[in-house]
Amino acid sequence: MLILNINGERKSVDVPDDMPLLWVLRDVIGLTGTKFGCGIAQCGACTVHLDGLAVRSCVLPVSAVGDKAITTIEGVGASEVGRKVQQAWLAIEVVQCGYCQSGQIMSATALLAGTPAPSDAQIDAAMSGNICRCGTYVRIREAIKQAATGRKLVPQTIPNEAAAASSGTDAPGQAFLSVRQEDAA
């Protein structure tokens, strides 16, 4: 029986020592936000944090975790950096299919936690272990910068809460326009 500290909660699991953390999370505990892409530390889809550092959980035997704090995509939003990264990801719509994005967000959050204002080269170095088959890299780079600086240098998406259609005697697009102005301000 192992006791794991996952997203601030203690979980006990009865699994083989050599079982990779990825499968303990997904198939035993039921935290399926962490993804399987390759199983050989090539794609980064399975990235989680151990004491804040990004690791590939598909090759990490669960017995090697010890009492280190595990953070997964389900829990990363609890930290300020994680929340900013998620918000930037939505604000400029990084996501396409989304399957790689748990891992991307975990890598990006670990980067920013240690390097709050990364250069392009630092972003490339920290993120090059994460494959995105949909090719969202351009926006990943932009979103990391936006999360780091708060500056909106590229077009922002219009959040759904605010986007509303109207017709008839109402001026078309009024709601949309006001949102845009707020965003610009």
Partner: protein
């Protein structure tokens, strides 16, 4: 429950925009054949009972309004990352005067009658058709629903519907100050007769269409809460992973599971004709157990097959096979001028969707449930019925969000296999393929051997153009009845038969050369055009060079009668600063232009090649005219992602086969482009009122020639194959060879002298 037929005007076979759309190629033609076309064109049939429960108002297959006002929109095209759910929801919400935050999107159940893509006649997502067909279908559906709801409110208030307005799903009559939510009038609206005609909104009144609205599916993709197919967990479920015979067409002979039984969590093995699955309490147990199996295969008749052999056969078929005419204009024979010719070769390619293939199946005596992400839900029912012998109406497919499709999930082989395993056990079975299995058992984009030739007049313009394509046929496998009367596969020549350029004499032919039985050709992002545009645009670049002309100026000259193509060429050239300033040595820019899937694109790429042949992409500029834009954010994302998808293949990919088995196994030897290799990619969208064109596959189509042409500009080396051979790009590769040979000759002479 409302049971009125669907309202789908404008979708008759005589509709010109539909005809135009249909003209565009193999995948569309394939589906048309599969669905029997005409049957489903006019009306999408009765609304079915769906997961939203029993809505008060369900005027068609896409819209459900509950008495409480909840609006559920059922998405006929699936979501695999391309933004289809947002695009479809936007069209419906626009006409219904709703916000995207006021709707819930739902995966469509498997139901051809209700959710067939009327453009292609099958419940399928592919060929960049979603917005092209939904543009009319869903706006009509939304407008019809709105008109009924407004009419119900107006009748209740005894006022004219025209005096009512709608904002965010609330109907108002200004003069009397009355208002009602959609939910309040839903039941009354359900009793009203369907209007003969509904008028869609004037584009000037669009509140949602054309805006960069946030996607409806992304919030749950940044916090891990949105489930993909692979995340489905059903009570009592066990997990399996599979090994099919790695040799093409081979069979399973025998399995010894003695060692697998020692694996903690091992449950059982199940076998089918050509594969074995190990079942465990979780994936890890299944994977360990599979690795511990002692498997004997019958490697079958293709155990010595190789890709070298395939390319030899293709080259031979190109010369000695029977060409099928795809298109002929004028007469290419006897045209005088400067002759240019070239041979291009394209490899087999894998899809490697980020989410490995997976299916959860529960087969019971009286029915079967399937949870999976598929581009063809109705075909999933077909194969499950075939394998289990159950009646189709007892089979339920719960479609899921997909971690990429790219054409792979247009094939239901992994679903059929999962059902074949699951019917042998009485618990729900989740079958997950490893990445290794994914690469070994793909439906590969076929290999091509294309010989292309042109005759140039005194100004260097092509006055005769011949293209002979040789390949296997995806269409013949996927939908044999969709093959042309003369045996033509329209996908094999899509992007080659119709050129954007003016060429007075043209002959395009195809020679069919099948792959060995058991090696399956498949649709791959960009389909026909991703293959042909590489060849055509690489060759046009060769012609420009032969004519001593600038590649942009050369194309401009040939596009004088094609204003939209000319528009994107000029836009990309000006944004890229084409021709302005000088570039450093071994830096070059390449241009590519094409008109795939009803859209117009020009891409310019700048590369730098190191003396050792290393390639760095420095910048890319894309200009796109895809008609009316539903969501500019999606267009940009699809172009960026599509380019990276294509560049990845050009830079690194090619499935090779030795001794009848695929050699690549995972991302270590089937490489993907990574962020550090990705250049800035600018996307410039032309403001247009034309009918929407496709977008999801266009970037991929443009990627290959833009990169290859840039490499030529940087190094003077013309590449006609990929994955790109870096050794051909080594600085002074020829000079280097000469030096080495000389040195060798000298040494040999010295040795000979010494011996004398």
């Amino acid at each position: 429950m409302n049971t009125r037929p669907d309202l789908l005007p404008g979708e008759g076979p005589d509709n010109p925009s539909r005809r135009q759309a249909l003209k565009t190629g193999g995948l569309v033609v394939a589906f048309l054949w599969l669905g029997g076309g005409a049957k489903v064109l006019g009306r999408a049939g009765q609304p079915g009972r769906i997961e939203a429960g029993d809505p008060a108002f369900a005027p068609n297959a896409y819209i459900r309004v509950g008495a409480g006002g909840a609006v559920h929109l059922v998405m006929p095209s699936i979501e695999m990352g391309q933004g289809a759910y947002t695009g479809q929801a936007t069209l419906l919400a626009e006409e219904m005067d709703l916000g995207l935050d006021q709707i819930v999107v739902e995966h469509a159940p498997a139901n051809r009658r209700l959710y067939a893509n009327p453009l292609v006649g099958e419940q399928a997502t592919g060929g960049s058709t979603t917005i092209r067909y939904c543009w009319t279908t869903l706006r009509q559906a939304g407008a019809a629903a709105r008109s009924l709801l407004v009419a119900a409110a107006a009748a209740r208030w005894k006022v004219e519907p025209a005096q009512c307005t709608v904002t965010r799903g609330v109907i108002r009559h200004e003069a009397s100050g009355r208002s009602a939510g959609y939910g309040e009038v839903a039941a009354a609206a359900a009793r009203l007769p369907v209007p003969e005609r509904v008028v869609e909104k004037d584009p000037g009144a669009f509140a949602l269409i054309g805006k960069p609205l946030r996607r409806v599916d992304t919030a749950g993709k940044v916090d891990g809460s949105l489930p993909f197919g692979i995340d489905i967990r059903v009570p009592g479920m066990k997990v399996a992973t599979v090994r099919a015979c790695p040799t093409i067409g081979g069979k399973l002979l025998a399995v010894d599971d003695a060692r697998a039984r020692q694996v903690p969590g091992f449950v059982a093995i199940v076998k089918i004709d050509n594969a074995v699955a190990a079942i465990g309490e979780h994936f890890w147990a299944a994977k360990q157990a599979l690795a511990a199996l002692d498997i004997r295969w019958d490697h079958g008749p293709h155990a010595s097959f190789s890709t070298e052999q395939l390319f030899k056969e293709l080259a031979d078929a190109s010369r000695n096979g029977t060409p099928i005419l795809a298109r002929e204009v004028g007469n290419v024979d006897g045209v005088k001028g400067k002759a240019v010719e070239a041979t291009y070769e394209l490899p087999l390619l894998a899809h490697t969707t980020m989410e490995p293939l997976n299916t959860v199946v529960h087969v019971r005596p009286d029915g079967c449930e399937i949870w999976t992400g598929t581009q063809v839900p109705a075909r999933a029912v077909d194969v499950a019925a075939k394998v289990t012998g159950l009646k189709p109406e007892t089979i339920v497919v719960h479609n899921q969000y997909m971690g990429g499709g790219f054409g792979r999930r247009l094939f239901e082989d992994s679903i059929e296999q999962a059902v074949a395993f699951a019917r042998q056990v009485d618990y729900p079975l989740k079958v997950v393929w490893t990445r290794e299995e994914d690469l070994a058992q793909d439906r590969y984009r076929p290999a091509y051997h294309d010989r292309i030739a042109a005759t140039l007049d005194a100004e260097g313009r092509p006055v005769a153009w011949r293209d002979r394509i040789t390949s296997a046929s995806v269409l013949a496998k996927f939908a044999p009845g969709a093959m042309g009367k003369n045996g033509l596969d329209s996908d094999a020549v899509e992007g080659a038969a119709e050129l954007p350029y003016e060429v007075p004499n043209l002959k395009v032919e195809w020679v069919r050369h099948d792959l060995p039985e058991g090696l399956h050709p498949g649709w791959w992002r960009g389909v026909g055009p991703a293959h042909n545009v590489f060849v055509v645009e690489g060759f046009v670049d060769e012609l420009a060079h032969a004519a001593g002309k600038d590649p942009v100026a050369y194309r401009r000259d040939l596009l004088q009668k094609n204003p939209r193509a000319l528009g994107v060429l000029d836009l990309a050239a000006s944004k890229a600063g084409w021709g302005a300033g000088t570039l450093p040595p071994r830096v070059g820019r390449g241009v590519a232009l094409a008109t795939p899937f009803g859209s117009y694109l020009c891409v310019i790429v700048e590369v730098e090649v190191s003396p050792q042949g290393g390639i760095a992409l420095r910048r890319a500029v894309a200009a796109v005219d895809c008609g009316v834009v539903v969501n500019p954010n999606t267009v940009e994302a699809q172009i960026q992602g599509g380019l990276i998808f294509g560049w990845t293949a050009a830079l690194y990919n090619g499935i090779t086969i030795r001794n009848g088995a695929v050699e690549q196994s995972n991302f270590n030897d089937y490489r993907m482009m990574r962020i550090n290799e990705t250049p800035p990619i600018e996307v410039h969208i032309v403001d247009s009122k034309e009918v929407p064109g496709g977008i999801g596959e266009t970037g991929t189509v443009m990627a290959f020639p833009s990169l290859i042409n840039a490499l030529f500009a940087a190094t003077g080396v013309r590449l006609r194959k990929y994955p790109i051979d870096r050794s051909a790009l080594v600085q002074g590769a020829d000079a280097l060879k000469a030096v080495v040979t000389e040195a060798f000759d000298e040494a040999a002479t010295a040795v000979a002298k010494g011996a004398a």
